[in-house]
Each structure stands twice: as structure tokens, then as C-alpha cells.
């Protein structure tokens, strides 16, 4: 009886995000958890709300030269350049590992042309074990694609509508923080057929070595992530959530459960942990536990009571 009662008193942490049924609202962000095996020895992947894999395009992509990453105060700047195996190898060689787990897999996709996004989406449509697609229109580290498509609302809208026609999977454009009006971009995504939006991607950044007077990263510029960008991300998620009816996934510098709760309170239906996975691989699971504890302490029986509960 005691067990049953305890079970009943636990708040409902589940999320149905555009048809993706998640045990809890906490995902791991693309590019920070690999394809599954990397952290499987350290973290119970079954406890994650969802798993977003590293960005995939049609062809294998070598990524940028090294150095690709540099730590800064409150975060890191990376210019990996979307190294990846290409969609065919991903399906046969990488996806099977995660299929053995009870966790929704969201595939982050990108292309060097608008049409390539649709082509990758079409290849993944109907592949068992994929719950949704995140469209990377915001990576600052590739010359063709990524942020170039995500900072022009016409191009972004056309690209999203193009992907929409080629897949039945939920599509989640990942928005760049590098735009003047995030609400307008979020609305454009919604009107173009997006099922949700995720934000923010990294903030374009640069680090210079004063001894050599050279950029530290081989790519010269990269994307800033980590706790330094968290307040920026909270503001953008708030504005995006106000602008659209589709769910918003909040990310950017989550280190502690409170950081995730801020996103939920300003209107995100789910969150993603990124850079903090490198600091402490169990961050996402700590965040799950911390959110649940918050609900209990505040006598909330359902996660939905906290989403969008900001008092303004």
C-alpha cells in the first residue's frame, strides 16, 4: 500500500511533444551526446526524455580542422563543423544502438542546399526507431547550410515547408539566436509546417590568442555554449513561446535543474542539456530529478502546471 501511495503522489512528468511521447521533458542536445554508445556506460539512457543525435546530412562530412573547441569563462566555443557519417551509414551503423533503448530518438539533420534537407528527411521517413527530426538551420560552423538558412526568414520558411512535404515525422527547426526578432522566426516556422521549434543554437563567437594574435579555432569563428548563454536563451525562449502555439524546446546553458525550470516557466514544453554533459554526464538525469522535486515541493501534480507559468 505504501508503495502504491508513493507512486500515486509522484507528479506526472510525461510530455507529448508533437506526438513524441517522452517520460520527462529533458533531452540531450545534438552534438553533445554522440549517437548513444559514448555515454552509455555512465548514464542510463532509458531515463532520458529524448535523445537528439549529432547532425546528419546526405553525404559523410569531415568537419573542420582542429583546434575545434576552446574553453572560455562560463562556457566553450566550438567549431566542430558537423562531422558525421552521412544518412545511409547513420541508419545502418549508428541508429541500431539506440533502438535497443526505450528512448525517443530525434535526428538532427542539415544540408548544404535547401533541397538536401528534404532529401535527408525523405531518407529517414519511415525508418523504424526515429521519433522526429530536428532541422539544423542555425549551425554557425559550416560554410554552406546551417545558419545561412536560419537567419533569412524567407529561406527558412521555404526550407521548412520543403521538408514538411517529404516526411510524416514531426519536424523541429532549431532556431538561431542571431536574429533580430525570434518571435517572427518562430511564427514563420509554425506557418511553414513545423511541429515544434527548439532554441537556442550556439551564439557565433570568436577567441583570439594574444601571444600569436591568431584565432584559437582553425575555423576562426565558432559557437558559444554553456552557462554564459543561459540568460540570453531564456529571453529568446520566452519570446518564441509567446509567439507560437506549437511546443518550444528550450536549451542553452542548462547546468542545474533551476536553469531548466526557467525555460519551462517561460513557456518551453521540454528542455535540452548540452555543454553540461561534458562537465557532468549525469546532468540530464539530475535535472529530471530536480524538476520532479520542484513539482513535489510546489504541490504540482503535473508538469504542465509549471509550463508557461511565468508571472509577468
Amino acid at each position: 500500500m505504501t508503495n502504491t501511495r508513493q507512486h500515486d503522489s509522484r507528479p506526472d512528468m510525461t510530455v507529448n511533444l508533437a506526438g513524441i511521447r517522452m517520460k520527462n521533458p529533458v533531452m540531450v542536445a545534438s552534438g553533445t551526446f554522440g549517437y548513444g554508445p559514448e555515454y552509455a556506460d555512465l548514464v542510463d539512457l532509458n531515463r532520458l526524455g529524448a535523445f537528439v543525435v549529432k547532425g546528419i546530412r546526405m553525404q559523410p562530412c569531415p568537419g573542420n580542422e582542429v583546434p575545434r573547441m576552446v574553453e572560455v569563462r562560463g562556457g566553450l566555443v566550438n567549431a566542430i563543423g558537423l562531422q558525421g557519417p552521412g544518412v545511409k551509414k547513420f541508419i545502418t551503423g549508428y541508429l541500431p544502438f539506440l533502438r535497443a533503448y526505450d528512448v525517443p530518438v530525434i535526428v538532427n539533420i542539415w544540408g548544404q542546399t535547401e533541397d538536401e534537407y528534404g532529401e535527408v528527411a525523405a531518407h529517414l521517413d519511415g525508418v523504424p526507431g526515429i521519433a522526429g527530426l530536428e532541422l539544423n538551420i542555425s549551425c554557425p560552423n559550416v560554410r554552406h547550410g546551417g545558419i545561412a538558412f536560419g537567419t533569412d526568414p524567407q529561406v527558412a520558411g521555404r526550407l521548412i515547408a520543403g521538408v514538411r512535404r517529404r516526411t510524416r515525422l514531426p519536424i523541429i527547426p532549431k532556431l538561431s539566436p542571431n536574429v533580430p526578432d525570434i518571435g517572427m522566426f518562430a511564427r514563420m516556422a509554425e506557418e511553414s509546417g513545423a511541429d515544434a521549434v527548439s532554441l537556442i543554437n550556439t551564439i557565433p563567437a570568436m577567441v583570439v590568442d594574444v601571444a600569436t594574435r591568431r584565432p584559437v579555432l582553425a575555423n576562426k569563428i565558432g559557437g558559444l555554449s554553456g552557462p554564459a548563454i543561459h540568460p540570453v536563451a531564456v529571453r529568446l525562449v520566452w519570446e518564441a513561446a509567446k509567439a507560437v502555439k506549437i511546443p518550444v524546446i528550450g536549451m542553452g546553458g542548462i547546468m542545474e535543474p533551476e536553469d531548466a525550470l526557467e525555460f519551462l516557466i517561460v513557456g518551453a514544453s521540454a528542455v535540452a542539456v548540452g555543454t553540461a554533459n561534458f562537465t557532468d554526464p549525469s546532468t540530464a538525469l539530475r535535472v529530471v530529478d530536480g524538476i520532479e522535486k520542484y513539482l513535489v515541493v510546489h504541490h504540482m501534480r503535473d508538469l504542465r502546471q509549471v509550463i508557461g507559468s511565468v508571472q509577468v
Partner: protein
């Protein structure tokens, strides 16, 4: 690969600017193979999101030893760690040094504190070999007594000539190689890229295997972030980027495509 809270048993000067951190980490220490590394969350490293990778100097009896020098923010913060406090470790990570080819002499070549993982390797090898160690000055030549206590001959070179031969480590290695033309050997090396490349060239010339341990700036340490990649030539000639933290840090000389 495990994650473990390790208690600091001892933290003391090793020699000169080098310090030895001895940790109680029974889970990880039991799993360590020479050449593998630890990814350490350094306490009180303000505003830092990345762990720091360290090679392993000693592992056994539930303990781990990290030999390091203060070279940046991470190691400066590590130097402030005191006995009794705990550090979060992920390890052991990467692939260690394979065993020597049967019937070959292990020839170990170290640059500076690159000697640390080689010292652990030597302590685990059945057969004695020889150590060549180079550094900037006499203060950068470490572990000579450790090797001599194990009965290994040691040859030293320093750039300023303050210990051993004046010059790079190759200035003692090359004459020795010339004097042992028929010797079957397996090379093991850890140190700066330039040294590793030079050892690789000598291994090719002597038709020997050379296991080189690379040092690259790392992010996650487990293969997820793809920060520490190295161009590798596969047996079929295809060149691919492999993760130093996951497929390395030890590669055979012929696999590495130097810039």
C-alpha cells in the same frame, strides 16, 4: 569506463615544478591499462565547463597517480587541491598500449612528463627494455630512478645540456639504434607531436612497430563531441578522422597522417 568520486590521499611536489596527485579510486584503478587516461573534474576551477585529461602514472592497490605540471588554468586549480577532498573522475578512457611484438625489445621514448604513462607500462611489462627520455632542462627529466629501480637502462638528453646529452631525445636514441642494427624492437612513445613523428620515422626505417600516444585538446573525453580528432590512414589507404579520446590516444606510427 566508470565515473568515480576519488579521495585525495596525497598531493606533493614530485620534483621541480612537477607534482604527484595520489587518489583513492578502487573502481577505476582496477581497470586501468597503461596508456589509458582519466578525465578529471578539477574542483574550484571557476567558470569552467570542461574536464581535464591526464595520463596515468601509477595504478594499483585501489590507487591512481597523476603526474602533472602547472601549465594553465586547469592545472593551477588542480595544484590547490588538498589531501582529504574528493575529485570526480571518468576513466579509464581510451585504448592503452598494446603488448610488445613477441621477442622484441621494448624501446620507450618520452618527452617531458610524457614519461608518466610509459612508467606505468614498464611496470607491467614482463621483459625489461630501455628508456630514452628528453626534456628542456634537467628539471624536466622525470622518473629516471623509477626505471633504474626496475632494472631498466635509461638514456637522457636535454635541450640545454644540463642533464645527459645536449639536444633532443633523438640525439641519444639514434646512436643507440645505429649500434643495434639487428635488434628486434617495439617502440612506445609519449611526448610532443614533433618527437612522436620522429620516433615514427625511425620505427619505419627499422621495420618495427611504434605505438605513439597523442596529446590533443579534448572536450568530452568519451567520443561524443568530436573535438580531438586526428587524421588516420586505414589499412586500405582510406583516410578518416578518428577520435583521440576514443580510438586513441595510442595509434601505430603508420596510421597517423601528420599535418
Amino acid at each position: 569506463m566508470q565515473i568515480e568520486q576519488a579521495r585525495v590521499l596525497k598531493h606533493a611536489q614530485f620534483s621541480g615544478d612537477y607534482r604527484l596527485l595520489t587518489l583513492e579510486a578502487p573502481v577505476i584503478s582496477a581497470l586501468v591499462e597503461p596508456g589509458q587516461f582519466l578525465h578529471v573534474r578539477v574542483p574550484r576551477l571557476e567558470q569552467s565547463v570542461l574536464r581535464r585529461p591526464f595520463s596515468i602514472y601509477e595504478a594499483g592497490s585501489g590507487q591512481l597517480g597523476i603526474l602533472y605540471k602547472q601549465v594553465g588554468r586547469g592545472t593551477e586549480a588542480l595544484a590547490r587541491v588538498v589531501e582529504g577532498e574528493t575529485l570526480n573522475l571518468i576513466g579509464p578512457l581510451g585504448n592503452g598500449f598494446p603488448l610488445p611484438e613477441p621477442g622484441t625489445l621494448p624501446v620507450l621514448v618520452a618527452g617531458g612528463y610524457g614519461v608518466a604513462p610509459l612508467r606505468l607500462l614498464a611496470s607491467r611489462l614482463k621483459d625489461k627494455g630501455i628508456l630514452f627520455v628528453g626534456g628542456r632542462t634537467a628539471a624536466d627529466i622525470l622518473c629516471v630512478q623509477d626505471f633504474e629501480a626496475m632494472g631498466w637502462p635509461v638514456q637522457v638528453a636535454t635541450e640545454d645540456g644540463s642533464s645527459g646529452m645536449k639536444g633532443w631525445v633523438t640525439s641519444v636514441l639514434d646512436p643507440w639504434l645505429d649500434a643495434h642494427p639487428g635488434e628486434m624492437m617495439t617502440f612506445y612513445a609519449c611526448g610532443p607531436d614533433g618527437m612522436l613523428k620522429a620516433i615514427g620515422e625511425r620505427a619505419v626505417r627499422h621495420e618495427s612497430i611504434a605505438w605513439l600516444s597523442l596529446d590533443k585538446h579534448m572536450g568530452c573525453g568519451v567520443g561524443a563531441c568530436l573535438a580531438c580528432v586526428q587524421k588516420i590512414r586505414l589499412p586500405d589507404g582510406e583516410e578518416v578522422l578518428e577520435r583521440v579520446c576514443r580510438e586513441g590516444p595510442v595509434f601505430e606510427a603508420r596510421e597517423i597522417v601528420w599535418k
